[in-house]
């Protein structure tokens, strides 16, 4: 059973579900239309590619059997034409930790723990998209559960969301205040890296919320 596809299917569902709930995200998504972002976490068995259209498709860059290296080589040769449309990030979990300290970035790159190439604006755009998702969770929830329960569930979710937001804002501040000029490439990578970790956090927060929602929905069905 192809586990990778199960994972990518779930990620895709969650992202698109979030985007659908937030009508303002359309504009941010439209900017990314036709582009793709590939994220390779070194400890994760498969790189994921996010393809942007009027929704987000998540592909697994997995290849047939053990031909993967050949395939990878093929891809990089073939795709030079569209490469300037795309953005690729490669990093490790340990880099995810260190990246929050911008003074570490240069070191990360020198130690080859972080790689970025292609069109940085794609990664930035994806970051914006995720960062700006603004969903009135409480309202969404109360549709299912009534106000009181919605409020308590909402609070739990809000804490997670607040954390992520703070994190992302700090990052954007660093960027906008000239970190880019000082450490040109490094800042790019920082941005991208942090967005990835944000996305991951957001994803797990969303998953938890979704699970709770389902539960509540079930309970509600039982009582009515």
């Amino acid at each position: 059973m192809p586990a990778a596809q199960l994972v990518s299917a779930s990620i895709e569902r969650i992202i698109n579900h979030l985007l659908k709930l937030d009508s303002d995200s359309k504009a941010a998504l439209a900017k990314l239309k036709g582009k793709r972002l590939t994220v390779k976490l070194r400890e994760f068995p498969w790189p994921l590619t996010f393809v942007f259209s009027d929704k987000v498709d998540v592909l697994v860059n997995e290849s047939f059997d053990n031909q993967s290296q050949k395939e990878q080589a093929n891809i990089s040769l073939q795709d030079t034409a569209s490469a300037n449309q795309d953005c690729r990030i490669e990093l490790s979990f340990s880099a995810l930790q260190t990246i929050q300290d911008s003074s570490q970035i240069t070191g990360l790159i020198q130690r080859n723990e972080l790689k970025l190439d292609g069109d940085l604006s794609v990664a930035q755009g994806f970051g914006d998209l995720i960062k700006n998702i603004d969903i009135d969770w409480e309202e969404q929830l109360s549709k299912y559960t009534g106000d009181v329960i919605a409020h308590s569930v909402f609070n739990a979710g809000k804490q997670a969301a607040r954390k992520i937001n703070k994190h992302t804002k700090a990052l954007l501040t660093i960027l906008s205040e000239g970190a880019i000029e000082e450490k040109n490439i490094a800042a790019h990578k920082l941005l991208v890296e942090d967005f990835c970790s944000d996305v991951n956090q957001l994803r797990s927060a969303t998953e938890r919320l979704e699970a709770r929602l389902t539960l509540l929905e079930k309970q509600r069905l039982k009582t009515t």
Binding site: M1, G34, V51, D54, L59, N61, I75
Partner: protein
């Protein structure tokens, strides 16, 4: 000696004269297409529901795997052959974007109509064409497509060699063919369980949901009669495909074959 080998021997025998198989039945070669058409005509409306039900949703993962192996990029031209209700075509349409093109082709107009309506409802209109076509004689110029997919379609085609050759012709040099199809389970155990499922449960489900057990009986039989992994690989090699490989999914119940034209 396995059942599949026995049945592919039968197949060869059948192909040698004017007869071919329709499920387990022998029919005239020129009848098969219209008999297949009847099957899909009668299942078209309920096709998607039945797909989910029959495969317990796993067909979505198989299709996802196919897309992940497609190497498709923005600007590519894709043919989703025997594309039916357009599951693959929908995703390809988003991946190839406005500069690309997807052709959804099927021999059966009822299936195409269901597909077109579904994709239109999803907002997919700009870069997709619908073409009623027989896989054996594709109505496209040579060297047209970067990718051809045929998912759960090849086993319904009367002359598979002819169809594969036709696909080879319309593929661009450097292009690839992906054939997703039922195949031969790797273990005897799985094979038995699977037979039980497809010959007993599946037609019953077909009856319950679509009120059409015969069509689903045909599906089960046609799955069993389809060439196994190595045979299909050989058939692809024979018409010119290169670097042909396959990947078993769900224990070989389904296999994805891939070949390139260089």
């Amino acid at each position: 000696m396995s059942d599949t080998q026995a049945s592919s021997a039968e197949t060869n025998q059948a192909e040698s004269d004017d007869q071919t198989h329709f499920g387990f039945k022998q029919v005239d070669k020129n009848q098969k297409a219209s008999m297949v058409a009847d099957v899909f005509h009668s299942v078209a409306a309920k096709y998607d529901v039945m797909n989910d039900l029959m495969s317990m949703g796993i067909h979505r993962i198989w299709k996802r795997f196919t897309i992940d192996c497609s190497g498709v990029r923005a600007g590519h031209k894709v043919l989703d052959l025997a594309g039916g209700t357009g599951d693959l075509a929908a995703k390809f349409s988003r991946i190839v974007g406005e500069s690309g093109k997807v052709v959804l082709a099927d021999i059966n107009n009822a299936m195409l109509t269901v597909g077109r309506d579904k994709l239109r409802d999803m907002g997919i209109v700009n870069n997709i064409d619908y073409v009623q076509a027989n896989a054996e004689a594709l109505p496209f110029p040579d060297n047209t497509f970067d990718l051809i997919t045929i998912a759960f379609g090849l086993r319904n085609v009367t002359d598979k060699d002819k169809a594969l050759a036709s696909m080879y012709r319309v593929l661009k040099p450097g292009g690839r063919l992906l054939v997703l199809e039922f195949s031969k389970p790797e273990s005897e155990m799985l094979s038995k369980v699977y037979d039980l499922y497809s010959f007993h449960l599946l037609p019953k489900m077909g009856k319950l949901v679509a009120n059409d057990s015969e069509s689903y009986q045909y599906l089960a039989e046609s799955i069993r009669m389809h060439p196994d992994q190595e045979t299909l690989k050989g058939m692809m090699d024979a018409v010119g495909f290169e670097q042909t490989t396959y990947h078993n999914l769900t224990g070989g119940i389904v296999a994805l074959h891939r070949g390139f034209k260089f």
